[in-house]
């Protein structure tokens, strides 16, 4: 038979219970940490989306300005001057 100093089944059950509770604590802490990371990443994602919307608006405004410049009398006149200059080899 095992020696008298051998751990008893009751002792190991207690150790197992303590270990299970510890594992649960670890799992809960990690779940909490992951949930916090998800929250932080969602905030970052929302910021990036807002930034994208702002950049798109800026791009649209730039395109609008570009189109207006190309449509202006001054631009058309300058284009004609430039074409003539190229034609005469200047």
């Amino acid at each position: 038979m095992p020696t008298s100093s051998m751990p008893t089944v009751e002792m190991i059950h207690r150790c197992s219970l303590v270990a299970a509770l510890h594992d649960t604590d670890v799992a809960v802490a990690r779940s909490h940490e992951l949930a916090m990371q998800v929250v932080i990443l969602r905030i970052e994602l929302a910021d990036h989306r807002a930034e994208r919307v702002a950049l798109r608006a800026e791009l649209d405004a730039s395109r609008q300005l570009h189109a207006e410049i190309r449509a202006s009398r001054a631009y058309r006149l300058a284009s004609k001057v430039w074409s003539l200059r190229r034609a005469v080899g200047g």
Binding site: M1, P2, T3, S5, M6, P7, V9, M11, I12, R14, C15, S16, V18, A19, H22, D23, V26, A27, R30
Partner: protein
């Protein structure tokens, strides 16, 4: 040598083909300072893989319990399957609760030598900062001793004890620093467990948990060493294959390796540096030659 109390915890999950010889070898180590206890990780009731027809109606766990009773070994069966890391943690916590000074985490597919506890004790005496002692083996991950004989030869108790005795004569308590201990047979002073804790359950049903534990120990200023004066036969992957953890032919779990690489970016480099130093190869060559000179038929080539 310090007068330590040892608890050798043998992790069992099925393994009908290997458990009996493991228990026989462990039973020979039982003394007033050494207790051996099987931690059966809720092996399935009924007929396990590969059992013979006459045993099919008998619970494997009942058989293991009976084998333990016959050999004066303790036996504990978890009410549900824990997986290897948590079963290891249970052994560690039991050793702490039982007031032991040193605990062995031992797979069931090993054969232990007669001098195991003495050699480990001498190694621990040499340096109190040691966190883990892994004995040498034919199958100890990257740190295996290459032997040119069959598993049948190597698994025989007389061979294991003779080779271990020859290594003790040559190497004594010499220990090589390892990048990590190996969980097939890892001896741990319980004061290290108080400091470092138990295995991380993130490794689920197993693989790499001992690497993680040993890196935590290393970062805490402790050493993981190979005891070159002891030899333990290890068949390899029996428990993990039985549990369906890895498929035959596989050696690890990729996700667990990724956790290790993420947590310890310098670990792989430490392994490379270990082999680049050449110390291990020199020690292995010297040890094999010494064993051969002592009449142990270790062969000279790769394992048959």
């Amino acid at each position: 040598m310090a007068d330590r109390r040892h608890l050798l915890g043998i992790l069992v999950y099925n393994g009908r083909s290997v458990v009996r010889r493991c228990l026989d070898s462990a039973a020979a180590l039982v003394s007033d300072r050494v207790d051996v206890m099987v931690f059966d990780d809720c092996s399935p009731i009924g007929s396990p893989i590969g059992c013979h027809s006459r045993d099919q109606d008998r619970s494997w766990s009942d058989e293991v319990a009976a084998m333990c009773a016959d050999r004066a070994l303790g036996y504990y069966r978890s009410p549900r399957n824990l997986g290897i890391p948590r079963n290891m943690s249970l052994v560690m916590l039991t050793a702490l609760a039982g007031g032991y000074d040193c605990v062995g985490l031992i797979n069931s597919d090993v054969v232990l030598p007669a001098n195991l506890v003495d050699v480990v004790g001498r190694v621990l005496d040499a340096d109190p900062s040691i966190a883990s002692v892994t004995p040498w083996s034919n199958n100890v991950s990257l740190f295996s001793m290459s032997l040119g004989c069959s598993h049948t030869t190597m698994a025989a108790q007389p061979f294991v004890s003779a080779l271990s005795a020859a290594l003790w004569s040559t190497n004594g308590a010499a220990a090589i620093d390892l990048p990590t201990g190996v969980g097939f047979c890892m001896m741990i002073p319980t004061n290290a467990i108080r400091e470092i804790g138990v295995m991380d359950p993130i490794f689920g049903r197993g693989y790499c948990e001992e690497v993680d534990w040993c890196q935590r120990a290393r970062l805490g200023g402790r050493r993981n060493v190979l005891a070159t004066g002891a030899f333990v036969y290890h068949e390899g992957a029996v428990t993990t294959t039985e549990a369906g953890l890895i498929q035959p032919g596989d050696t690890t779990i990729r996700e667990h390796e990724m956790i290790i690489t993420d947590r310890y970016p310098d670990y792989r480099q430490a392994v490379d540096m270990f082999f680049a130093s050449g110390d291990f190869a020199t020690m292995e060559q010297r040890s094999r030659a010494a064993a051969s000179s002592a009449g142990v038929p270790v062969g000279l080539g790769a394992q048959a």
